[in-house]
């Protein structure tokens, strides 16, 4: 079993109220180091055996059509051990 991770983030120009809210809450809790916070999604997909390049391409396709909305989001696909 291998784990493929797809990270989906809002494009930088799209408003991210969730990230903003976290960014605003951190200093109230005494954490003052953050310059900015963005919140996105992380998908962990389990596949049988070591993923082939063809499989990874398919997953990229799935990310583009379903997991992310290219109008507002970007994504990265990677294999995690």
């Amino acid at each position: 079993m291998a784990k493929i991770v797809v990270d989906v983030m809002l494009k930088p120009e799209i408003l991210d109220p969730q990230g903003q809210a976290v960014g605003a809450a951190l200093p109230r809790l005494g954490f003052t180091f953050a310059q900015s916070v963005r919140q996105g999604k992380r998908f962990e997909i389990e596949v049988e055996g070591d993923p082939t390049p063809a499989q990874l391409a398919e997953i990229s396709k799935a990310a583009e059509t379903l997991l992310a909305n290219p109008v507002i989001e970007t994504f990265v696909v990677r294999v995690e051990k």
């Binding site: 809002l10 799209i14 408003l15 109220p17 969730q18 809210a21 379903l66 109008v71 507002i72």
Partner: protein, 223 residues
Amino acid sequence: MKVGVVTFPGSLDDQDAARAVRFAGATPVSLWHRDSDLHGVDAVILPGGFSYGDYLRCGAISRFAPVMTSIIEQAKSGLPVLGICNGFQILCESHLLPGALTRNQGLHFLCGPQKIRIENTTSAWTSNFVQNREIVIPLKNGEGSFQCDDSTLAQLESEGRVIARYMGENPNGSRNLIAGITNARGNVVGIMPHPEHAIDSLTGPSTDGLAFFTSVLNSLVGK
């Protein structure tokens, strides 16, 4: 006149939309998400709710339902389609309308009467309004913030495709206070607040919403 109302698993306002169609004097026909046949309807409403739980992104999964394949195809050749709330989200995910609806700026689900101004009265669903009429209909959603890139926004504005705009304070962070838009042809309209909940003052804040449904009847008759 037959107006289809689609039910996805998780649709909630389908009965309300059907009632609004009846109030307007047409016959509602219920369409099932798995059924690609549109049963000869003259127009289609994608109602509010949480189709497929609205997991992932609102409307992201519904867009791939068999019924949507037919609706997307026929919308491109002029079938009037109105997406309300979740329906608007589905229309954006289907790329029948530009932009996307994202998490409300305040991060809460918000429900209450909302004042909007009708700014386009040429679409299939707004032709019965007087230009710039201000109306009050319910707004209720968690992800109603309309977002798009600058060029899309400029295009929507210059082509007069903003159907309705929020009045007063921005309730959810939508760009340019956009509450609803139409495609270039004017047959596909998405609106975030709920006209179907404003057809009877006993149960809604006004009867202002009815004109959306009578509009489409007029535009069909005029054909």
